[in-house]
């Protein structure tokens, strides 16, 4: 008799830890106003690095294309341990490089070539450039958590998020170029979390590649 409530309590507490409920929507606000920062990366790190934290590893490579003499996507996010691949869709050569701490590399990308994937082993921010086309810039945020997403239409949703304490982190080139924004999040099944931004956000679009014309020399 006396064992049942204890089991129930254990089951209940387990349920509250592992159960999934409706997705959590995170929005960025400043002085009560929703802020728009398309592509901003938000990731959640569980306070106790738990059993689930490293399970959801995708085995297909994360793709960053060179297309129409620009990177696509401009900002993206992936998890530590995943392969990244840089297919060149253009009919011109690129020279992709990064000097960032998590991954320092250079890739000669002759036209229409897809090179072998590269594995990222460390979390952090990777700034990508092209040594031939200096307007080409892209960012890849490598996170050590399976819970990550990017702001679209002013919000990002996290489904199947276990209840618990999290450190929430945010990065966008026009918000915090060098550091990440951090905040605490105690998730107990709520549907909405408003993240107060320290300032009004003025997120800029990716620089457009100059139009390519056959009658012009690229190297002016």
């Amino acid at each position: 008799m006396f064992r049942t409530p204890r089991l129930a309590a254990i089951l209940l507490s387990l349920y509250s830890c592992w159960s999934v409920s409706e997705p959590l929507k995170i929005q960025l606000t400043h002085q009560g106003q929703l802020q728009s920062a398309p592509g901003a990366v938000i990731w959640l790190k569980a306070a106790q690095q738990g059993s689930k934290a490293t399970e959801q590893k995708a085995n297909t490579p994360h793709i960053i294309e060179q297309k129409d003499r620009q990177f696509s996507p401009y900002i993206s996010v992936t998890q530590v341990g995943r392969d990244i691949q840089f297919p060149n869709r253009d009919n011109t050569a690129h020279h992709v490089y990064s000097f960032s701490e998590p991954l320092s590399f250079e890739l000669p990308l002759f036209k229409k070539r897809t090179p072998a994937p590269i594995r990222v082993e460390k979390p952090g921010l990777i700034a990508l450039g092209c040594n031939i086309h200096d307007w080409m810039i892209a960012y890849l945020v490598v996170v050590d958590s399976p819970f990550y997403g990017q702001l679209q239409n002013q919000s990002v949703e996290f489904a199947e998020l276990p209840h618990g304490e999290y450190q929430a982190l945010l990065w966008h080139p026009d918000i915090n170029s060098a550091q990440v924004l951090k905040t605490q999040l105690n998730y107990q099944g709520q549907k909405l979390f408003h993240w107060p931004a320290p300032k009004k956000i003025n997120a800029k679009a990716q620089i457009q590649a100059p139009a390519e014309r056959l009658d012009e020399d690229d190297d002016y």
């Binding site: 009919n91 011109t92 050569a93 020279h95 490089y97 000097f99 250079e106 890739l107 000669p108 002759f110 036209k111 229409k112 070539r113 040594n131 031939i132 200096d134 307007w135 810039i137 800029k204 679009a205 620089i207 457009q208 100059p210 014309r213 056959l214 009658d215 012009e216 020399d217 002016y220």
Partner: protein, 414 residues
């Protein structure tokens, strides 16, 4: 030597891989154009036909279709940031062979800082021209180049090494490119006769680009023919005569698609008493300033100014030369309208009889082009040049001449 080494390395690398053919096709790219033209010219016969006129195509080319120019640029990617670049032109109307107008190795090393650098080794144009930012060093705005750029096309090339360093001053923002400070330095050889065409033919407006083995016709006036050393009946610009290297430096500021301003100082350091095989070394030095400003995205104003001196034979020829042009160009969708005004002079400072190189001329060019993307461009152009040139009197011609040319061109770009 460097070029062949680089090429061998590239070929070795390519053949080491399994997919040699696809690798090579991925490493080599070509672009260029074929220019078919119809023109009507009125004025003196072309200097290329030993006349005293300053165009490339003259009245002997009137009113018939002409294959005016075949141009190609071939790039071979050796490895990341390292390429061999060749530019070729053929002018069937001048019975020219396939002219190699540039052949060099270009290397852009990676730098961890915001500084960028570019190295060029071989035979190439110093990047002086604003106008000639078209494919294969053509003018983006006109069929006939300005006097300064026509002269560069005739006899100015770097046969050596050039380094260029750019420092970014601010971050790109709102789609605006960063502000850059650009420094260029070069050492070169094989440019000793440069100055001869400017002195003995003068300024021109045309679209002829000399190849590495150029040999342009020259008929010596009596004064030149009387010299101790007999000048050959041709100009051969890319020769080394005195064994002394020349150099240039450039300094400028730019913001891509906003503005560019650059100053160059050039000195070929030629020993101007040297003579070899029918060709003199000409000591040629100049300062060149170029400016390009985008008033709006579609409206550009630009210009170039040059002032320099060329001498040979210990005072046998001593000339001061100067030229400037300003141009304005408006584009709207596929349409582009460009106008250019210029002045070009040569002052003869020596007293050699029967070789007066004095000249002064004004030119005007109006061009309308329609770009049928991506492959076709149709242009119509009116070019006028009025000049006074002392040496015309040696041919019993009036010193003053007016040259007018109406051209229509259809270019296929690939």
């Amino acid at each position: 030597m460097v070029l062949s080494l680089a090429l061998i390395t590239a070929l070795n690398e390519a053949s080491a891989s399994n997919d040699t053919l696809s690798t090579l096709s991925q490493r080599i790219s070509a672009k260029g154009y074929i220019d078919v033209r119809w023109q009507h010219f009125q004025g003196n016969n072309s200097w290329l036909d030993l006349g005293t006129g300053h165009s490339r195509l003259d009245s002997s080319h009137n009113n018939r279709p002409l294959l005016a120019d075949f141009a190609a640029e071939i790039k071979a990617d050796l490895k990341a940031g390292s390429q061999i670049i060749t530019q070729l032109h053929a002018y069937p109307e001048q019975n020219s062979a396939l002219e190699i107008t540039e052949l060099y190795w270009q290397y852009r090393p990676l730098h961890a800082s915001t500084m960028r650098s570019r190295w060029r080794v071989g035979f190439f144009y110093p990047k002086l021209s604003i106008e000639n930012r078209g494919s294969v060093w053509s003018s983006l705005y006109n069929l006939n180049y300005s006097a300064i750029n026509s002269w560069i096309g005739e006899e100015l090339r770097t046969f050596g090494v050039e380094g260029r360093w750019s420092w970014k001053f601010d971050k790109p923002s709102n789609g605006k490119a960063p502000l850059k400070l650009n420094l260029t330095a070069s050492a070169f050889t094989y440019n000793d006769p440069t100055g001869a065409i400017l002195a003995w033919k003068g300024w021109s407006n045309h679209d002829l680009q000399s190849g590495i083995n150029n040999k342009l016709p020259f008929s010596a006036p009596e004064g030149v023919a009387a010299a101790d050393n007999i000048q050959a009946n041709s100009f051969q610009s890319f020769r080394e005569i005195d064994g002394r290297p020349g150099g240039y430096i450039g300094l400028g500021l730019s913001r891509k698609r906003a503005f560019k301003v650059e100053w160059f100082h050039y000195d070929n350091q030629a020993e101007d008493t040297a003579f070899e095989d029918g060709h003199y070394a000409w000591h040629t030095t100049f300062d060149h300033i170029s400016a390009h400003y985008f008033l709006t995205r579609e409206l550009e104003a630009f210009g170039q100014y040059i002032r320099g001196r060329t001498s040979m034979g210990n005072g046998f020829v001593d000339n001061r030369f100067e030229s400037a042009f300003i141009a304005i160009s408006k584009s709207q969708g596929p349409h582009r309208l460009s106008a250019r005004f210029e002045r070009a002079i040569v002052d003869d400072l020596d007293n050699t009889p029967l070789d007066d190189n004095k000249e002064a001329g004004n030119s005007f060019n109006l061009n309308y082009s329609y770009y049928l993307a991506p492959h076709w461009k149709f242009s119509s152009e009116y070019q006028q040049r009025r000049s006074r040139q002392a040496r015309r009197s040696y041919r019993q011609e009036p010193i003053y001449a007016k040259e007018e040319q109406l051209s229509f061109s259809a270019r296929y770009y690939f």
